[in-house]
Amino acid sequence: MAQLQLKGIRKTYGNAVQETLKGIDINIESGEFLILVGPSGCGKSTLMNSIAGLETVTEGSILIDGRDVTHAEPKDRDIAMVFQSYALYPTMTVRENIAFGLKIRRMPKEEIDAEVARVAKLLQIEPLLDRKPSQLSGGQQQRVAMGRALARRPKLYLFDEPLSNLDAKLRVEMRTEIKRLHQRLGTTIVYVTHDQIEAMTLADRIAVIKDGELLQLGSPKEIYERPSCRYVASFIGSPAMSFIPLKVERDGGNLRASLRSADDDQMYVPLPEKLAAYEGKEIHLGIRPEHITQPLAHKAGQEATSSGKFRIEVTEPTGPDVMALIRINDTEVHCRLDPDHTVDPGEPAELMIDLSRAIYFEAGKEARIDV
């Protein structure tokens, strides 16, 4: 349970030309669960390593519970970390790998044994305890790496993509365990993941990083529904939000825009009044796949919904849903359909667009228009 403050963290690797972290400022409350997301190579692991004290930061300072630990030894920070690359000790068995951090801290032998047993059970690696890491599968190695961290009771946990190599089923179970752990111990956690569901369900707050800069910091709901910029909007959610260029028109008292299907069918959608300033201009409409669906009776007739016929270009059944690609205003747009609702690629289908959650961007600009 510790408060973690990152103040203007900058980091340039020794032989690199570019700065990797360009001034990251985050205050993480005691007991908070922070998730870092960002594109591959944006500096997440670097930030984690810096927090742990494994990389020296070039500038800025790191405070744990108000104490400046920027130059403290890793072992004096009381942090446990799961490495993206696992970094298991090759000469030790799984058991020894997990017990190592405890032994170092002079925990009595029986307690260590009990702790190892507990963690092994939780991670379902009990039969593997006496193997060497080289005799494990990838996912098993990753679980041992988790085990090494979970066996300890540090002030701060750092998890760097700890579940990436696990199967979906196990991942859900692990996620639940982590959540439970967090609730029980209230330890502060910083967690990197590429799994949207993980991010959405685990996080108290999500930090979106890109190119070493913090783009947005907020609750999962905020990030998902009110992304601060186009990049965040497109990054979060899978398949990604689609951006449809459209012209703001005024028809009578209401603002509206026309959406043109690939077959040149036109339909009009109402726009919020706050966009009045953009009348006659082109803006981009950001809409998520789950808001373009087959007509839903319970939504029909709501103010923000409209329907139209669009030709389905590609369908991708994912199991619970079918993802489809349509074309609106010459832009590819993803939509999410019910598998029961048969649509055929190449054929037009009646779709419903729900703009209640849509967001808007000025053409060519990053920032979102507040509506």
Binding site: E55, D68, D76
Partner: protein, 309 residues
């Protein structure tokens, strides 16, 4: 610069408060301290002392009347010194090259999950167990035309066989190469083998799937990652090359004439038997200077290369 090390600068920030923490930070340097002290005295102190001597007219034992560069002038006027240097160049190059090639080759072969690897490895390694004096004696027998190989061939009926390198002033240095390679290549093999055993098999697997044949895998994947081993080997071999004093002594005593003389022998005999310590010191300083000229660029490139390796 040192960021691939786990810790970078610890010097910049004063340790906060506690003594133990400061101790932790100094521990790595503390660990090096004994060696640093030994090197400072045992290598650089003594080297400096030798340097000083080379500017004196020391004869029998050190004396400190300075004579400027006289000893160096004399040194380069000495035909034997020039022979010794040429010999070292030939010997050093051939010796290092052959040892690396043979050692590396044998290590690779031995790495192919060979039955009885232990026995074979020991056989390759054992020549190192013999002192150079013994090696020299045995090879002197073998290469001696009237005792060894040539006589053997004649006894076995191949009477036209001739192998008189040992007594041929132009070839004698190569016989020393043969003996030295015989002795040291096994150790290079061991060094390489230890290196090979540290390589991640996954990388080799990747190369196999990439379609590389075994020789190719070794050439392109394994050997490049053995750069540090090459580095160690070259250092060890250069060291042996410079130290082959005993070997030459036992095989040829520098002869015929002084055709197989090496700088170390030159230095030794001038310093200790001929009472020209100043000249001897000058020759050792020159030896070091020559080494420096070759070594420094190599060290530089190696140490740089390994940082991001």
């Amino acid at each position: 610069m040192a960021h691939s090390g786990v810790v970078s600068e610890t010097t910049s920030q004063p340790a906060r408060g506690r003594l133990t923490q400061r101790l932790q930070q100094w521990l790595p340097k503390l660990a090096l301290a004994p060696t640093a002290a030994m090197a400072l005295v045992g290598i650089y102190g003594f080297m400096f002392w030798t340097g000083v001597l080379s500017f004196t007219g020391s004869t029998f034992l050190p004396s400190y009347e300075f004579v400027g560069f006289d000893q160096y002038v004399r040194l380069f006027g000495n035909a034997r010194w020039l022979t010794a240097c040429t010999n070292l160049a030939i010997f050093g190059f051939l010796f290092i090259f052959c040892c690396l090639a043979i050692g590396c080759f044998l290590a690779i072969l031995l790495d192919q999950r060979i039955r009885n690897e232990g026995v074979i490895r020991t056989i390759y390694l054992y020549p190192l167990a013999l002192s150079m004096i013994v090696t020299g004696t045995v090879w002197q027998w073998i290469l001696n035309p009237s005792l060894g190989l040539e006589k053997l061939m004649h006894d076995w009926g191949w009477t036209s066989f001739q192998f008189d390198w040992l007594t041929n002033p132009n070839m004698v240095i190569y016989t020393i190469v043969i003996a030295a390679v015989w002795q040291a290549s096994g150790f290079v093999m061991a060094l390489f083998l230890a290196g090979l055993r540290g390589i991640d098999p996954a990388i080799i697997n990747a190369a196999r799937v990439d379609g590389a044949s075994l020789p190719r895998i070794y050439l392109r994947i394994v050997l490049p990652s053995m750069r540090p081993v090459f580095f160690s080997s070259v250092m060890v071999l250069a060291h042996i090359a410079i130290k082959s004093f005993d070997l030459v002594m036992a095989m040829t005593s520098g002869g015929p004439g002084y055709a197989s003389d090496l700088p170390a022998m030159f230095m030794y005999s001038f310093t200790f038997t001929r009472g020209q310590m100043g000249l001897g010191a000058a020759s050792s300083i020159m030896m070091l200077a020559m080494l420096l000229a070759i070594l420094v660029p190599y060290l530089y490139s190696e140490l740089r290369g390994q940082r991001n390796g």
